[in-house]
Assembly symmetry: C2
Homo-oligomer: 222 residues x 2
């Protein structure tokens, strides 16, 4: 019974995710679903990326949090259109929540919508939102064993950002083990080493993201 309920929920979600995807495609929005553990640097990474690319692309953000508007306020203070979703006790965003947020934005040309999922390495991986890209942000202080312990979220990823590289000197982190854990799941997954604090590594990530926009919308003038 429990399994049937689970399957029904996932199937209903998938149906809505496909509707969202169609909407995004029509409105030239590349949707980037950001998944990470609490405190890995999701908000900081989004803000850095917007700073880097806002002359070329238009950015929109959906903030998913159990409670609070802390991250949404950071976006607003930079003039980035943002919708906050507070999930209460729900440990992830789902396609229906995203569908409800879509009409709150206006869409121009060349949009990237970042969806900052609830901080959680488990549940967000199971619910498609209609996104074009899934990005996992890991951080050095979390430790190198995360790909072994939370394989599902890395399996779903189109790229991994390894944040807080500036702490590498003071934290015990075996980079080889982290890379091997990811490669075992996903041989060709791009991994971007960055630091939101120092700004290192963002140029490569920004170029890759821009390339993905062009791939998805080849008719763009970018």
């Amino acid at each position: 019974m429990k399994i049937d309920v689970r399957r029904n929920i996932l199937e209903a979600n998938q149906e809505l995710a496909l509707q969202n995807r169609e909407f995004f495609q029509k409105n030239k929005v590349l949707v980037v679903n950001i998944m990470a553990a609490p405190g890995a640097g999701k908000t900081s990474t989004i803000l850095k990326t917007v700073d880097l690319l806002r002359k070329k692309l238009r950015f929109l953000v959906i903030e998913g949090d159990i409670a609070s508007r802390i991250d949404a306020e950071k976006m607003e203070s930079r003039g980035i259109p943002v919708v906050q979703i507070n999930t209460g006790h729900m440990c992830h965003l789902d396609a229906n929540m995203i569908k409800g947020a879509l009409s709150k934005f206006t869409y121009g040309a060349d949009n990237i919508l970042f969806i900052e999922n609830v901080g959680n390495l488990v549940c967000p991986a199971e619910f498609s939102l209609g996104e074009g890209l899934n990005i996992v942000i890991s951080s050095v202080p979390e430790g190198h064993d995360k790909p072994y312990k939370y394989p599902g979220v890395y399996l779903k990823a189109d790229a991994v950002i390894l944040n807080k590289m500036d702490t590498l000197g003071s934290i015990d982190f075996e980079k080889d083990s982290f890379y091997e854990g990811i490669k075992a799941l996903h041989a060709d997954l791009p991994i971007f080493e960055v630091s939101c604090k120092t700004g290192e590594g963002f140029t490569e990530w920004g170029e890759w993201l821009l390339g993905k926009y062009r791939e998805n919308f080849p008719q763009t003038m970018l």
Copy 2:
């Protein structure tokens, strides 16, 4: 419908949690449910605590992970009796999983059973396991805003451990804001500042835990 299913699951879990609690009480086991985000230092904190108190108390560990036996192997290498539970796609442990693990231990006098829950600040807070204490481990690199974003898990806590204090110099962490966020939820919650790397702060935490054992089992000779 969805709400009813949720309620039924939680009620069935509560029933089993009460059975577990009865078993633990009878066998003089203080059960400590450890909840934290991925990479906050759950395993390291357990290992440090065992080192500190193993002359006084007998320690048992249940490891909850989506996948892998990495943490269980660390316990085994120190001679600590451990049962690994791999939850697959389940984002938390539940009372039924704990019930299934109980017969795998032998019980002497003065036992502490650490349950290392799945790394997740959301779902574990909803499922009682029959534990005597709920401990949340936060870490400095996760940031000071966690009590605002994940109130449920802090509301359930009997104490908070703030780990990785050694990184305070190199990480932007507003300690006052962290404390205010917790106090707003829970005026008298003990907070222990520790570092698993340097060992700082463990004496106070160890004393507190020993005190809790004596409170729960006043007939102990400890």
